[in-house]
Symmetry: D2
Subunit: 184 residues, 4 copies
């Protein structure tokens, strides 16, 4: 039986990104039969419609990987009470050109981690409006908001908090069912 392939990206470019760490942690917390492939947005340039005729190769690659996946995991940083510009920029690219979006009909889940108690909320709910526009199939619950970040990762960047791990484990297990329920 083939594995469920989840394509994952974090809306942050810095090396020590907490959202990249969330995705790394998710790899180890995924249920049997699910593989999570992480993608780094570092080569995605700022979106420019004038470049659409010859899509930048990083964008073409990004779109191809989304298209080949069974579902998408977005790790969403909150900057200034919304999703990061870097996250939205990558999404804008992959939704283009008009009529050739990579996201159409793809199941999707969200994860956020923040320094405080509430972070990620404002980012995820804005992003859900975007996902609606993209006709993605959103799994709503369980939601994953991890924090405060200082308490859940150890110095090596591993997610050591059991409550946070359990939240992610439940989300990924539910996502496997959710994806299966969309098929046939």
């Amino acid at each position: 039986m083939p594995k469920v392939r989840v394509f994952a990206f974090a809306g942050s470019l810095r090396k020590g990104s907490l959202h990249k760490k969330l995705i790394e942690a998710s790899k180890g917390l995924a249920p049997e039969g699910m593989e999570i492939n992480a993608y780094d947005l570092k080569d995605i340039p700022p979106y420019n419609m004038d470049l659409e005729d010859a899509m930048p190769s990083a964008v073409a690659d990004f779109k191809k990987r989304i298209a080949e996946s069974d579902g998408v995991l977005m790790a969403v940083p909150e900057h200034n009470f919304s999703f990061s510009g870097v996250m939205k920029n990558a999404i804008d690219w992959a939704s283009r050109p008009y009529g050739e979006s990579a996201f159409d009909g793809k199941p999707v889940i969200l994860q956020s981690v923040s320094p405080g108690r509430m972070g990620g909320s404002r980012a995820q709910y804005h992003l859900r409006q975007v996902l609606g526009a993209l006709s993605m199939i959103q799994m709503q619950f369980p939601e994953v908001f991890i924090g405060p970040a200082g308490d859940v990762f150890d110095e090596s960047g591993a997610l050591t908090d059991e409550r946070a791990s359990e939240q992610i484990r439940k989300q990924l297990a539910a996502f496997k069912e959710f994806i299966a329920g969309r098929g046939d």
Copy 2:
């Protein structure tokens, strides 16, 4: 008496951007005593916190110009039911490093143009949440949503629609008063 200096940028990089044209049109519609300086985001790289110690020169310049202005005009494209990633990316940069945002306390107005009747709405209301986070001083009314774009610009890119021009003229005149009301 010194002019009111409004710093303006469009959240789009393409050459023929309708939002750049909106700003060009605004220059000619500004009240006496207001000058509008347009800025092109083309050199702003994707935000990366690792680069904050040595801010990219384009970002430093962008921040300096915002700081020197009396108010900010953002021309906001709507992509996928929210503001463009390019717009948010530039805002994320200029809000950093922590405690050194260029936006704090700056008066701000928004303009959008869209191919349809409703476009821009979803972008501007999301953006207002971001502007709240940045402690910008938002002028709410009159709002400027121009469309359908096909009817308002001529082939040379000039705004020829009188109703649209009047909306912008009113907004800019009100903004001059709004900025003056914040002082002394």
Copy 3:
């Protein structure tokens, strides 16, 4: 073959409500095999958790009808840049008591009409966040934003605008498919 039963309510109490008229129009525009049952919120009191032990009979009836339906049509007025309080109040009731929501897993569509060009947008996108919380299954497209109202209804309250009628006809036909696709 049994008919698809759509339960419909408008978030407005006034007799001449445009949103009630939208629902009336929808009855005539529904595809074969779909029946639309309109409900008036006039007997739903303001939500008060202290009354949950003995649910007001209007609320119990409202919940029962939602539960018996195959899908829900909400006609959403925009007041003050969001959905009406009357609409949200009825939704709050039907989501209660905790664990006994009438909405869980129900397919849902939205319609709005407004005096201007943009109205309804701000109401519907806020409402979609609520529908997510309720685990309703949202059909996103085609969206129905009708306006300006003055141009589309005749004096008897009938929807006479062909373009508006066609939008609704398409939405209801798609909703029939959408509901069918959720079953078995």
Copy 4:
């Protein structure tokens, strides 16, 4: 020197409402020179435009008290990922009839308390869009999100948590300055 009069209401009708308790606590935490007058929404009927010609007396009273105040404190419950219908219904009433809103230009602050860690966030950010529509003057920071509720109130309903009390104390002191800064 006259006191700053803050008009306060909670978007909940139940007797033991946490949001009513927040307002009670705020009375004791207000700075010298500020008085907080609490209002109970229990007599406000569901909004019906047909009743606008003869405003219900509770609504007329509600509007009069808002108009006489120097600022407004809204204690905002979150129901189903947004503000309560009861809260929005009262706001819809007080914004009417067209051109006679009680809220225009009034300074405003928000407080929320919730059983969990994140509650109130989704309610307050939706409400801020409404406040923008109403041309209220929003103080953004400090924000007040209190929770988890189980840890901060004692059995008599008094706010006993020092961190929560300090948040409110800071907000109210800042609001006094904010209101003063709007004058003369």
